[in-house]
Amino acid sequence: MLPSSRPAFTLALGLLGLSLALGMLGVAGGSTGLEPLSTLWHAPVAQQIVADIRLPRVLGAWAAGALLGLAGAVAQGLFRNPLADPYLLGSASGANLGVALALVVFGGSPLASAWLARLGLTGAAFVGAIAGVLLTLSLARGVQHTLRLLLAGVIVGVVLGAAKDMLTLAAPESLQAMQAFALGTTGFVGWSACLLMLTVWLLCMAVAWGLSRLLDALVLGEATAQSLGLPLAPLRLGLVLVLALATGCAVAQTGLIAFVGLAAPHLVRTVVKTLHGPLLLLSSLAGAVLLLGADVLARLLLAPQELPVGVLTAVLGGGYLLWLMHRRVRLGAAS
């Protein structure tokens, strides 16, 4: 039934191995560059840094990448569009607006720090992301029409983005915090955020795998999928919810990290051809490896300074995709 399950399995193992290797590198590499783990165990500060900062950071980057990779694969399957990405349904602009609102409304008052710390910008970003998707769904009047959904998502993105710009223009002191959010960072991911993201990932992965036969059927076109007797609307709604939850969760913890969701499914598809179930898992793993690798590089390249991780994901993922395309064109010309 699955002629390509062997290569898919090999790829999964490879990605897991790569995750492990990058993870070790991430634990060993910090503000002073790479240092051998053996020396770390002697200094108490170093122990605390590894346990409280580097381990959750590595795991958090992996989980956020996995969420974005999964969301990207779901989006591309659902819209049958290779340019679809997790931020398509208004979740990114919604999260952006949520953060801007929280900063403007509560940022000026003296009680702000306490309030912001409790619910936090993460809460505002999550609520904003989900609200953005719900707004898109209501504008598109449900999930029946892919094109309408797509268009509504684009419109919501533009309108909410403009609203965010108006807000930040009126409150320039929030500009810097907004920029930090828009570039994305994995610097402040703690254990609780890790646990949350991993739980959500497991949940979303299970649901998406269960619904993946809809994505397989959609490859043949909507009419064919309908004629196969699949309950299109509820299945699609389920997938949109997975998309919203996974994206919202990742965005809330790490900000708007670019390109992982778009690139991860493509990276997998260039290596193996497979059904959507394995594809979802593999994209998720590829996204995780991409973000983790970018995070490790972001820390090491300029240590003790850091590059914004979103910049590196775009360079790494985009560069690899370009190279693949270039190679394929050359191979095509040769044969």
Binding site: T32, A112, A114, Q305
Partner: protein
């Protein structure tokens, strides 16, 4: 003999041309007479004009200029990067003061308006800009104004008790985390106050740091210029930092942050704020 006569004539003519200055773009701007109507598109330049006693000549400011109180009543002509050209032209200014990073200089010059672009970034720049604007605005004692400011910074440095000197300080500009390094304007003030900045000059003025760099440097005092920064204790691993444990984290209000980050004539006031923080008299009680 003829040559000397020409030289004398030339000298006479240039002095009739009143004043020529070179701004931070390297552009020479000539004034026949001191400008009477000024538009400022940079808060620190607005403050400098007022410090020189020429506040009354300002006819328009950018939307971020909020000091002294008087300028809030002036027409606002947009922001430094998105100014309203039409509104500026309508004010018929003799000169527009702006940052060199602003892109509107060419447009305004094309419309026949004189532009002086300046980019104060350091203590030395504040002095230079004071002197230059003093020339443009015909203020004779611009150097005295600088000496008063400079003396006030020194007085702030004197006010830091000996026991509070040499403390390791981390100044967070925003939650990136971007820090103010030794070579930034804030860093220069900190150095004069006898504090030890944990961000060395080699990292540049405002580096984006790896958070664990701060944990490792273990600062004794933390200053936060942005209220929107996440609470320090809530960040992974930051609870163990000496400053967080001892609650020596000074969070400045937006008005205070304006004073601290603007390289302008209020730098002595900024120095006093930081001195209070270093002495442990500003902790958590920021008004």
């Amino acid at each position: 003999m003829k040559i000397i006569m020409w030289l004398v004539l030339g000298l006479y003519l240039t002095s009739a041309q009143a004043l020529q200055i070179t701004d931070d773009r390297g552009v020479v701007v000539a004034f026949d007479q001191p400008p009477q109507r000024i538009v400022s598109l940079l808060p620190s330049l607005t403050e400098t004009v007022c410090e020189l006693g020429r506040c009354a000549r300002l006819v328009g400011v950018d939307r971020y200029s909020n000091f002294p109180e008087h300028v809030k009543a002036l027409p606002q002509v947009g922001g430094g990067i998105d100014p309203n050209i039409e509104a500026i032209v309508a004010l018929k200014p003799d000169v527009v003061l702006m940052a060199t990073s602003s892109r509107v200089a060419d447009r305004l010059q094309g419309l026949g308006i004189k532009v002086v672009a300046l980019e104060p970034k350091t203590h030395a720049d504040v002095r230079r800009v004071l002197h230059l604007l003093g020339q443009v605005l015909e203020v004779k004692d611009a150097q005295t104004v600088w000496r008063v400011i400079d003396a006030a910074v020194s007085a702030a440095a004197q006010s830091v008790p000996a026991s509070a000197r040499g403390q390791r300080v981390y100044f967070e500009v925003n939650a990136g985390p971007y820090a103010a390094g030794e070579v930034s304007f804030i860093g220069e003030t900190l150095t004069r106050l006898g504090a030890k900045n944990i961000v060395p000059a080699a990292l540049g003025p405002f580096p984006k740091l790896n958070p664990e760099f701060v944990v490792r440097a273990n600062p004794e005092v933390i200053m936060v210029g942005d209220r929107n920064s996440v609470l320090m204790a809530a960040r992974p691993g930051w609870g163990g930092i000496a400053a967080v444990k001892a609650k020596r984290v000074c969070v400045f209000s937006p008005a205070q942050a304006d004073v601290l980050v603007r390289p302008g004539p209020r730098m002595a006031q900024g120095a006093r704020l930081m001195a209070l923080c270093l002495a442990g008299q500003l902790t958590e009680a920021a008004p």
